[in-house]
Symmetry: C2
Subunit: 248 residues, 2 copies
DNA sequence: CCAAAAGTGTTGGGCATACACCCATGA
DNA sequence: TCATGGGTGTATGCCCAACACTTTTGG
């Protein structure tokens, strides 16, 4: 997590030459398995050095003529087939010595990573397994040690997700098109922990906001009364966007 | 403002060579003139090509062995003397063709800019005018056309400021050590526009939160009853941090 | 008919809004 | 003594947490 240190004087560096950079883009791609109430992140098994055979966030180096966002979308399209996705820039990690290649092929080349934050729907997302490439959804709670500083990047993405969940309608980017109010509630509890309102109040608040429309369709899951399927109504939400708004 | 476009396929680029980058850091440094109720941003008159004699955000290129944050602090220390400052990363602008030097010295070198967001106290900040360097606080509302994409960077910083003001105690990073409740109120109105609670309610809410301590000192500004000087009590605030909290 | 899941209702306390009002000072 | 800016008080209504309750299904 990037901290905010106070003051620093590096005038010794005053006449140091400029650094040359390669720029990488790494994506933190989240998704939720509604059936098992698990928050998932997409990981790739690395095929080349450095960190061969170690899990990492899906990433790539930026090519000539390519924007950062283009690179982020390229990663997505190489690893995953989705109809719809949410993507935003996360944070830029650029300290020296964050990539072992800096020491080896040297000539002072630095590796900087611009990370992106993405949300996709688990059910719609089809993983593209080229050859023997390891690619998998990992429950965030069980993520192993990752290549580079990717554990740190993931942690930062996770905080961002928690924050966004509270004040913007990102939940509907991860849920299926139609969902029960319980699915929504479960999503909030699995991501945020269950330190908030009980189901009944959660339900009441969300419905009062008026951008969840009942499709009328009922779905039965084992015993118990069947639940209504709702969908997010973007039009009804529009007037509320960029108003302060809490979803807890 | 960085948007979130949906999908894109750039497989034509599939075998394009990697881009080489120089990395710049640009700071959006805000401050507030409490006397005149103006939000200020620090601008520098450029001395070299490109964009000679045009105003720009203070920035620099990252040197060997230097982290991004180090570079950001270096800019600060070269332009301004302050006791205390708030600094955080803002956004990374990395599209091709955002810097005219890409066309000229060429060899495919790209210029990427990592922007930082800083807050300083107007009264404490002493500008360092080396030689004839133009350096000045500009009222945000009167900023001219800037070099590069700096108007866009500034706009993004401005939004960030507005957002942070609503849910975190950044106000006290820009205000002087001691301030009247009216100063605080004015700050909120000049930055956010006056679309919120009246002074009386603003006052009541803030005081109830309990992290503003009355110094007992009174200050008289022309006619009218003298106002109490308050200061931000970081200890009293500590337990409240990272709780959801609205300052409007 | 009972347990399980979904959905509704009620009640009390707290907080925000919109005001009206009192206080201390300079001119 | 009055205009000016600072500060206090109060009534209304809304929202929210807690929790009790009803409805609809499967077994």
């Amino acid at each position: 997590m990037p901290g905010h240190k106070q003051k620093k004087n590096l005038n010794l560096l005053n006449e140091q030459p400029l650094a040359d950079f390669k720029v990488g883009v790494d994506n933190v791609i989240f998704s939720v398995d509604t059936a098992q109430n698990r928050l998932l992140v997409l990981l790739i098994m690395r095929q080349q050095e450095p960190f061969v055979n170690q899990w990492s966030l899906p990433g790539t180096l930026v090519r000539q003529g390519e924007s950062l966002e283009d690179a982020a979308y390229r990663i997505m399209s190489e690893k995953i087939k989705v109809n719809n996705l949410y993507l935003e820039q996360l944070y830029t990690f650029g300290g020296p010595n964050r990539d072992p290649r800096e020491a080896i092929d040297s000539f002072g080349v630095r590796y900087l990573s611009v990370s992106y934050f993405a949300l996709v729907r688990f059910e719609e997302a089809e993983l593209i397994a080229d050859k023997v490439t390891g690619i998998a959804w990992y429950p965030v709670k069980q993520v192993p040690e990752l290549a580079f500083d990717h554990n740190e990047v993931l942690a930062y993405g996770h905080t961002r997700l928690r924050n966004k969940l509270e004040y913007s309608p990102v939940a509907f980017e991860v849920l299926p098109e139609t969902f029960t109010l319980n699915d929504l509630y479960q999503l909030y509890t699995t991501v945020l922990g269950d330190n908030f309102a009980d189901y009944s109040n959660f339900r009441a608040r969300l419905l009062k906001l008026g951008f969840l429309s009942d499709t009328g369709i009922k779905i039965s899951r084992g015993a118990g009364r069947p639940a209504s399927l709702y969908k997010f109504d973007a039009e009804a939400f529009a007037p509320l966007k960029d108003k302060p708004l809490v979803f807890i």
